[in-house]
Amino acid sequence: MHIADGILSPAVLSIGTCGAAAGTIYGICKLKYEQIPRAAFLASAFFVASLIHIPIGPSSAHLILNGLVGLILGSAAFPVILTGLTLQAFFFGFGGVTVLGINTFNMALPAMICCFLFRIPIKNSKSSAAVFALGFLTGAFSVLLSCLMVSFSLFFSDENFFTPVLLLSGAHIPVILIEGIITGFAAVFLKKAKPELFDNGF
């Protein structure tokens, strides 16, 4: 999921950086004082989740948790994911510095879209099963969307990347399912323990 340095074309890189910068500024402006500890906690979770590695065939994939970040934080997903990715790049060598923008954009935008799509339905649904289903969709859909965005970033940089793109999406099917289940359980728990979390729409 983390694109490495030196693969993408300058055009794709600059679009990603601009998108990530805009999202981060917007997210920081919207982040309220009392939300900061929550954001920091999710940033830690996001940072560590990338180490949970699922071997698939010759390649490997890891958890991303952007659905959960988006569901809980909404627009603050951008600064949180940017923080997590920066630290991952420096500590673990995932991705790189020049691709920070596009990587943030590819993971945080799906998080925000999922928040936009699923937060209000989760707030309105009464049964735990419905909440779980919607949480599952949040987690699964955000990873799927990230995969597609990574694929497009690669595809627009070099058209030879089409076959690997299919591979990438295939490799992430287990991740999509696992993230769906994790986000589903988290949604059920949060709905019970802290229902006011879903109050503001976006």
């Binding site: 693969i7 979770a45 390649s59 490997s60 923080t83 076959t163």
Partner: protein
């Protein structure tokens, strides 16, 4: 209640940390006699099979295109003493390179018997040059596993990196909260 939950999650993560793996493609190469042998692998995971490895010379020109076998190993026979760069690109966004500076293949040990006897001195020992070549080849062969081990050791996910990262996040949050609280007053 909430704090307890957080503590439980963190301790579980700390316990399973031993089984956590990095997700990063790496390439390693070392000279073995006249050849350069190397492999492409995922740190913590398996080897990358059937992957294209491009070889560049000191001027940055592509001189060869190799493919890794079922064990992720590639083999390259350099023609001259040069700086070589091996680069693997998996296509799904991973790319990795390994630089090998001043590769010099140990000189060919002479196999021709006639020549061999000719270069020997009166006591029947190989001459200086041949001796140096033999030693060089032997040392590079013996050092190979050590080099591999060293590269693997460097890749090990270090626990303090994880703690350091979490510490940074808490620090950033704290500093940001401090500045916001100044604004509030």
């Amino acid at each position: 209640m909430k704090i307890r939950g957080i503590i439980i999650v963190l301790t579980t993560l700390l316990i399973v940390q031993q089984n956590l793996f990095a997700h990063k493609m790496k390439i390693f190469a070392a000279n073995e006699g006249k050849l350069i042998k190397g492999y492409v692998y995922f740190s913590g995971g398996g080897r990358a099979q059937g992957l294209k490895v491009n070889v560049y010379d000191g001027r940055g020109e592509k001189i060869a295109e190799l493919k890794t076998d079922s064990k992720g190993i590639f083999c390259f026979a350099p023609k001259a003493e040069d700086n070589y760069r091996f680069e693997a690109c998996s296509g799904d966004g991973h790319r990795t390179a390994f630089k090998m500076e001043n590769f010099s293949a140990p000189e060919k040990t002479k196999t021709d018997n006639a020549e061999k006897t000719a270069t020997r001195n009166d006591k029947g020992f190989p001459d200086r040059k041949e001796f140096a070549a033999l030693i060089g080849e032997e040392i590079s062969r013996q050092l190979l596993p050590l080099k591999i081990q060293l590269a693997q050791y460097e890749d090990k996910m270090r626990f303090r990196d994880i703690l350091g990262g979490i510490g940074y996040i808490i620090g950033i949050a704290g500093i940001y909260m401090y500045f916001l609280s100044l604004k509030k007053k």
